[in-house]
């Protein structure tokens, strides 16, 4: 699997490269600035890219902008965005295109290697990996607008875990319910959100976009 990395801290960049190589990823290029990143993303069109939000030259949100621009030109280009902070505003912008293949995680999450590599693979496969903190921020707001307001608290919980990118089995595990029950909840969620019948993966992404866009 071909990977492009955009990270300006040498320590973290080398760590990521080592980590990904150890898990049989092929790191085709690792860049340390915004303009270089956009070029690399468009040149290589990798299977997945791992991008830091804050990059030179402005040290603001160069990485995020490069990711959004690259996905505008190559829709669905899988990108996992890493940041010291997560903000709903950025999560919405990343998902605005309506395509999957997006991850948005705190840098801390790298410390759990297995979960991190899992998230990279999920994003590469067109899924989503939203940081639990983004979901927590969403859940903290008591203002869910229709049609999300019509979801039961349990269904909201399932949708939140879905946004993090968990599989039905994983959701069942963390809520202590059966996989079959999860299936029933997801079907109810798709129904209430009025999502067109299509592949399950695609519907999941659409549901997450609705969720974050409320």
């Amino acid at each position: 699997m071909r990977v492009v990395i955009g990270e300006d801290l040498a320590l973290l960049r080398d760590g990521l490269i080592r980590l990904l190589r150890a898990h049989d990823f092929d790191v085709v290029e690792a860049v340390d600035n915004g303009p270089g990143l956009l070029r690399a993303l468009l040149n290589h069109q990798p299977d997945v890219a791992i991008v830091d939000v804050r990059l030179p030259p402005t040290f603001t949100d160069e990485g995020l902008r490069a990711a959004i621009e690259a996905r505008r030109q190559v829709p669905g280009l899988p990108i996992l965005v890493l940041s010291q902070y997560v903000d709903q505003l950025y999560a919405r912008e990343l998902l605005a295109g309506g395509n999957g293949g997006i991850g948005y995680l705190l840098k801390d999450r790298i410390s759990d290697l297995d979960q991190f590599v899992d998230a990279v693979r999920r994003v590469a496969a067109g899924g989503t990996a939203m940081d639990p903190e983004v979901i927590a921020q969403l859940l903290a707001r008591p203002k869910a607008a229709a049609p999300l307001a019509s979801l039961t608290p349990r269904e909201q919980e399932v949708l939140g875990l879905m946004a993090e990118g968990r599989s039905n089995a994983a959701i069942a595990g963390s809520l202590f319910i059966t996989e079959k029950a999860v299936g029933k909840y997801t079907a109810a969620i798709f129904g209430k959100l009025d999502l067109p019948v299509s592949e399950d993966d695609n519907r999941r992404v659409l549901a997450v976009i609705r969720y974050l866009d409320q």
Binding site: R54, T58, T60, D61, Y85, L89, A145
Partner: protein, 381 residues
Amino acid sequence: MTTARESRSPGRSPSATTSLRAAFLIAIQGLAGIVLLPLLIVSFALVVIWVGLPMLALTLSLLRGLAMSQRRLARRILGVKVPMPYRKIGGEGLLDRLQIRLTDPATYRDIAWLLLTICLGFAVGLVAMIFYIVLPLGVLASPVIIRTYLTVTSSVLRRSDTEVMEQRIGELATSRAETVDTQSAEIRRIERDLHDGAQARLVALSMNLGLAEQMMEKDPQMSRELLAESRQSASVALTDLRGLVRGIHPPVLADRGLVGGLQALALAAALEVDVDVVMVGRPPAPVESAVYFAVAEALTNAAKHSTARTAWIWLRHNAGRLSVTVGDSGVGGAVASPGGGLHGIERRLAAFDGTVTVASPIGGPTIIAMELPCELSSEKI
């Protein structure tokens, strides 16, 4: 914008009907003054027995109203703003308020103007009216009379430069002291948060790591547990630091400036917030930060106290002034109490010569209007 234009451009020659109306108003003000002066004198005399106190308060209010009507007229005709020179009335009881009024130099200026208007106002107004109606050249002459008269009276009603300066110095001294206080309180809070939060966790972390190192040979199971615990406390320390940095300078604000910062605030708020923000360029970073936190405070207040479900943010930059308004659809009744959120907003903005106006009648809605002078720099690419 309108006020700025009015105070800058020289007044145009008033049209004929405006002149006539102004002359009429001046005459009426003269008449009102003739009635008011004896009342004022009687009130002063009656202060000896308590009846004079409420009478004095009443007549002084009437005088103030009359003087204000003259100020407004001067502003309309001359195109020059005659600012309200009065001190803020902060006292509670009648006596307190009376005392503030009686020690306010503006009150004596009003009395001086009253004497002037009694002697001249009625006559000038009458003459201007008669000129206008009778003389063929009155159309030209009466505006000149009116303008001259108003120029004289507004020079009486306006504060002297020294007074303006003194008040300004007082304001600056207060806002500087408050800024320094807020600043040092903020630094103490950051120090405490670091000390109790991230720093303490890092101490525990390095202790655990040391232990794990020792245990490696003897008790691999134990050292594994210690390592897992260390990772846990490292991630909690990071969470602490994130929270702290958000409180000092929110990353979105640094990335996207005030516009993006306010959008992010609206998204994160506990109510539905409508954002209407138009601004080309960016204010200086300290102003951005002050406005961001002021709006955050206003939204938090709205969510906590107003029971509102929706709120809105409106921002514009015009003629060197940044105006931000935050409103909610709640129950109203918000007051600025010392140490409260609204007071905090006032103090935050006072450092930049900003003002806060709160309109919050019982039953709602609450509208908090903030305004501060600032220039915009062109947008960073």
